[in-house]
Amino acid sequence: MKRLFTLTAVAVVFGCGCAQAQYTDGTIKIGVMNDMSGTYADLSGQGSVIAARMAVEDFGAAAKGMKVEIVGADHQNKPDVGSNVVRTWIDVDKVDVIVDVPTSSVALAVNEIVRDKNKVFLVSGAAASDLTGPKCTPNTIHWTYDTWALANGTGKAIVKTGGDTWFFLTADYAFGHALERDTAAVVEKNGGKVLGKVRHPFPGTDFSSFLLQAQASKAKIIGLANAGSDTINSIKQASEFGITSGGQNLAALLAFITDVHALGLQTAQGLIMTEAWYWDLNDANREFTKKFAPQDKGVHPTMVHAGVYSAVTHYLKAVEALKSDADGKAVVAKMKEMPTDDKLFGKGVVRADGRKIHPMYLFEVKKPSESKAPWDYYKLRATIPADEAFRPLAEGGCPLVKS
């Protein structure tokens, strides 16, 4: 049955192949899959679909005679749901490229399927640095950020800007341990000192005793090696204990502008974090935001949304150059070969292991008195140049690099 279908498809392509570029079934289909109902709905969700649509419009696909279609789905943060959606998309709906996919377990599952089916996977929402490490594939590009970049950016830049003593509040599972280990290594390498660490159960609700230990350590920086609701709760409770007003700074190792928005400046002020993109950084970003926000209920774009825009733009360029979207590996190879250039991330490259390279930024959340407009949340503390922002190619252990 499937073979018959492929044969027909091939026949159709050859039959009218002379006319125009050979896009499978005549359409480039982009599948945006993420969390549209849970924890990550704000930072990815519907906004990523909007960002993808804007990328297609700005690229002028219609004028160039490319038919592009966008579909969206909610993986509910369940790997089996995500896996099912992606398989159906590829096998039945003929989707050519999967975009976004936060939640590392889902992203890793999609990573395998896309490799098997030879399509393209552009990761913006997921953090797992394994995607360009041991689990890298010739079909995947990791666009926006990863855990290594966050740990490195936050650790290094904070130490260099004076935060040289650290105390870690770590979620007690593999992800938290890895984040803590990576950041601590960076801190010590740059001359900082780790005064202590404490592990909290995952998921946690009461952080008071851990926060008191952190406070008593007198460390200048309290590193939050956790994610999602754990980060939100620890920031809230730290604010209740007056930790930031007492002169210590919290450094979130995985947080987004939408988290700051949810917490409010009163609670989040003084928080330090690394991001790949901020809407108020330059004119191009502000202009993009002006178009984006009204479509997403006023939510300002996160770095994940911007990453989706940038990734889709580059994908369309590669497909245009190849005049075909049929072979996922070839498209990704083309994307690695062409330098990236778009209005949100500027010029950059995609490395052999699938890592997109661009600068990262260290931000500090403003005090309520410093904020002049809604969503005016960050002040720039440091810029981490592109060549230092991501894990060096040789250290990732990606099998593609050796060959």
Binding site: K2, M36, S37, A41, G45, Q46, V71, G72, A73, D74, H75, Q76, N77, K78, P79, D80, V81, S83, N84, V85, R87, T88, D91, V92, S104, S105, L108, A109, N111, E112, A128, D130, K135, D172, Y173, A174, F175, P201, F202
Partner: protein, 320 residues
């Protein structure tokens, strides 16, 4: 005369209602891949088996376990680990998953059946959560990332399961086999004792039945079937993750059983297909998934409390 014949026909139909329903179900499942996506069907079948296993306990012994994700999830972890790291063939991977579930079932069951009602539910939940946190921490489960890229392997060494239709046939055979086994258990003298315990435990004890032993055996059986379902699911999706051991999974299986029809033979299957279909087709409507699921649950509880199949059986006046 004609009327009598018709009545007799009706009676025969009634007497064999379960057999007829089974044939209809099997027929549908055999032709289903021609119009539905096989991976989706396999997922539904795994959940159907899971719900049947759960129903064996709540529907026929009256024990509400709130920790069945423990058996489902751990079996999927062990099966995935066995297939990926130890290089087990699929049949052995599934068996090792089922055996793990049986072992865990024996331990949890032995502790939990000493109490009844809400206490029973809470003990199962507590033990399941304990094992969930173990799964979060244990290195071989890879925490949040789960066990990925599990090879499906070759069944009995020569049937390649990477082929979608072979995989579907295997899942279907496992499901139907377990379903018949559950049917056999329910309709055996052992099953009659279970139902007696459900209806009136003191009376069953006074008749000389050691109810605790019966309950324990039923618990272990239920855990084992849940394990088979979990292990099979690990091979279908080629992954095992925290979703399957977490407590919402225990809740979901309760929901499936309730929507389908508690204590009916086919109810859990219908319920599982219904819920999985919902979960699958609602992925495109984004944030409304949970609202829709909630509304359906409320409607179900308010309007047809016997569940889809339970109500159908009532209308047709047959046993299903």
């Amino acid at each position: 005369m004609q009327r009598v014949a018709k009545a007799r026909g009706d009676l025969a139909l009634r007497r064999h209602s379960e057999a007829i329903a089974f044939l209809v179900m099997t027929g549908l499942l055999v032709v289903a891949p021609t119009f539905a996506y096989p991976v989706f069907l396999m997922k539904a079948l795994c959940f159907a088996l899971f719900a049947c296993a759960f129903n064996l306990l709540i529907g026929f012994v009256g024990l509400l376990s709130f920790g069945h994700a423990l058996f489902f999830g751990w079996a999927s972890y062990i099966a995935a680990h066995a297939a990926k790291v130890w290089g087990f063939p699929p049949e052995l991977a599934i068996l090792s998953g089922a055996a793990t579930a049986a072992g865990l079932g024996a331990i949890v069951g032995a502790l939990a059946i000493r109490r009844q009602g809400i206490y029973f539910a809470m003990i199962t939940l507590a033990l399941a959560q304990m094992m969930y946190f173990f799964a979060v921490q244990a290195p071989f489960t890879h925490g949040e990332d789960g066990i990925q890229a599990v090879p499906r392997g070759k069944l009995f060494g020569f049937i390649d399961l990477a082929d979608q239709s072979n995989m579907y046939i295997m899942v279907l055979v496992i499901f139907l086999g377990c379903f018949l086994l559950i049917y056999r258990i329910i309709n055996s003298p052992f099953g009659e004792v279970l139902k007696a315990i459900r209806e009136n435990e003191p009376r069953a004890i006074s008749l000389g039945y050691k109810s605790e032993r019966y309950k324990l055996v039923a618990f272990v059986l239920s855990a084992t079937f849940a394990g088979v379902a979990g292990a099979t699911k690990a091979l279908v999706f080629q992954l095992a993750s925290l979703t399957d051991v977490d407590w919402p999974m225990s809740g979901e299986v309760i929901l499936m059983t309730l929507v389908g029809g508690l204590g009916t033979l086919f109810g859990p299957v219908a319920g599982a297909f219904f819920m999985v279909t919902l979960e699958n087709y609602l992925t495109t409507i984004g944030q409304w998934v949970f609202v829709v699921q909630g509304v359906i649950f409320v409607v179900c509880v308010l309007l047809f409390r016997r569940g889809i199949i339970g109500e159908l059986a009532q209308v047709l006046r047959v046993k299903l």
